[in-house]
Symmetry: C2
Subunit: 303 residues, 2 copies
């Protein structure tokens, strides 16, 4: 097998920006394996390792990977085939000034719990939780800004979206030549919301296939996921309300195009099936998604 | 069969308040059928029936039903056994000043779509959507305030939560003698978020069993649902962020009690499985829920 492997040790970034230098160049349609470090890069290995603050550099994203032929205006499709844990334990942490209940007087900040990995499960104390990996940070070079890997936005980044896992194809707008894909910040499992600020953070290896959609009739401005069951727009904003509005408008536009209906009808249809889901409520911008069962958007990027 | 039937025509309310007069008194453990009108009480029957504004009285809730023995401090358990459609069509509407995208210039307010009911599906144009009924408004007499049936709060009310359907047991804090249960505003199907402001609004009949939990070790302050798969706290607030905080804290307290762990550990556990879900983003207060798979809270009201 000649599947290329791109590792954290080959190169990683702490920000997405317009001018990224690739550590690997993939052919359009190439299948490769990406190895990532946990979001804290090994700094937390026991329950005595406490995080007094979120490090300035966090969520190291392995890459970037240039994809041949990707030009601004194209769409990058990332088919996620498998996500395997690379460590025998993960970690869940709270840290001062971080997390949904950061000001709750009965909740300790910092605190750390180590989550040993068993056979298809992890342990939180004596509670078994199934391994359901999530790629927390995944994105491409931005149009103009430099955006730290802690932050989600239209380029992807710290989306912390549980759908970002095996079986999903993620679509990103291409803002720069080569797209410049990078990813990291995986979890062995994570709740929608990621309320305490982390899931069970862990290094993983990801099998994926990258391809360029050059003739998308959809003006894709933000990430989109196609899971085995649903198609979902993803939007990040300062408030959940603003993110909900953007994700709903984006989904309604896709439905209107697919079904040749008015935006009003598409909006009403969006209120009947699927709907809004919370991705995360703890990053500098918060993230939601808005979806419908896949049968209503069978091929979201084709007219 | 002597199952009592309580109908919209027997009595209905447009507000939950502390001093409600029952139209039926149920024994503790009684099984009954409740018939509701659609949220617009028949005013919208064709696509020419447009809603220029939300009526002052909306979401008529059939009831209230007193439950014998329910006293302030108890918990009312409502086991929802079946929800059947009573009409051969539902309706989806937008109205000026209402809905998530009410200020979007390309979306028409008002607009109406009629959704005919078929065999286990409804039609939106030529799109088939499975019938998945939701009881939009369900609640009990309040502690002090008068709260219109358009508004959700700690007594329940307009929760617009897709889990409020057959197979779920809903728990409400009892604030007044007899609890005074009332419900209406059902939908044939509804997306999480109810973005345009409605689902497919329709009259239904609901089979349910009411019972009083007198010795709850949990100080239940807001509604809670136990579905076939999960246990979820429900919280309503002025912003989604505030509702997320409340629902997460409430769930963390239940987990801490069940597993005899610190609130910090329970909060970290809540970030690993299940998580936050949006109920609705369109009512005067918005509603979210926070859940875990049922195995982690097998009996949420027993110590």
């Amino acid at each position: 097998m000649s599947r290329p492997v791109v590792s954290y040790s080959d190169g990683h970034v702490y920000a997405f920006d317009p001018d990224m230098t690739p550590i690997h160049t993939a052919a359009d349609g190439e299948s490769l394996t990406v190895k990532t470090a946990d979001s804290l890069e090994g700094a937390v290995q026991t329950e005595s390792d406490l995080l007094e603050e979120i490090p300035e550099e966090v969520n190291a994203a392995t890459g970037p990977i240039a994809v041949e032929g990707a030009e601004p205006g194209d769409v990058l499709a990332v088919e996620i085939e498998a996500v395997r844990l690379r460590e025998d334990q993960g970690r869940v942490v709270t840290a001062p000034g971080f997390g949904l209940l950061q000001n709750h007087e009965e909740i300790e900040h910092p605190s750390t719990r180590i989550t040993p990995v068993g056979d298809r499960h992890i342990l939180f104390g004596d509670i078994r939780l199934p391994v359901e990996p999530v790629i927390g940070t995944i994105g491409v070079a931005t149009a103009k800004e430099t955006i730290a890997t802690l932050i989600p936005h239209d380029h992807g980044g710290n989306l912390d979206t549980t759908d970002m896992t095996a079986g999903t194809t993620a679509y990103f707008p291409v803002f720069q030549e080569g797209a410049m894909l990078a990813m990291g910040d995986a979890k062995a499992t994570m709740a929608d919301g990621e309320m305490c600020g982390t899931g069970a953070e862990i290094g993983v290896e990801i099998d994926l296939t990258v391809s360029v959609v050059t003739d998308s009739p959809v003006d894709l401005r933000r990430p989109l996921v196609q899971t085995g069951e649903a198609v979902k727009t993803i939007a990040s904003a300062e408030t959940l309300e603003a993110a909900c509005k953007q994700a709903t408008e984006d989904l309604s536009r896709l439905l209107a195009q697919e079904h040749e209906m008015s935006l009003t009808d598409a909006y009403m249809l969006s209120s009947l099936t699927g709907g809004l889901q919370i991705s995360q409520v703890v990053d500098p911008l918060v993230t939601v998604r808005c979806g419908v069962p896949g049968e209503h958007l069978p091929n979201p990027l084709k007219a």
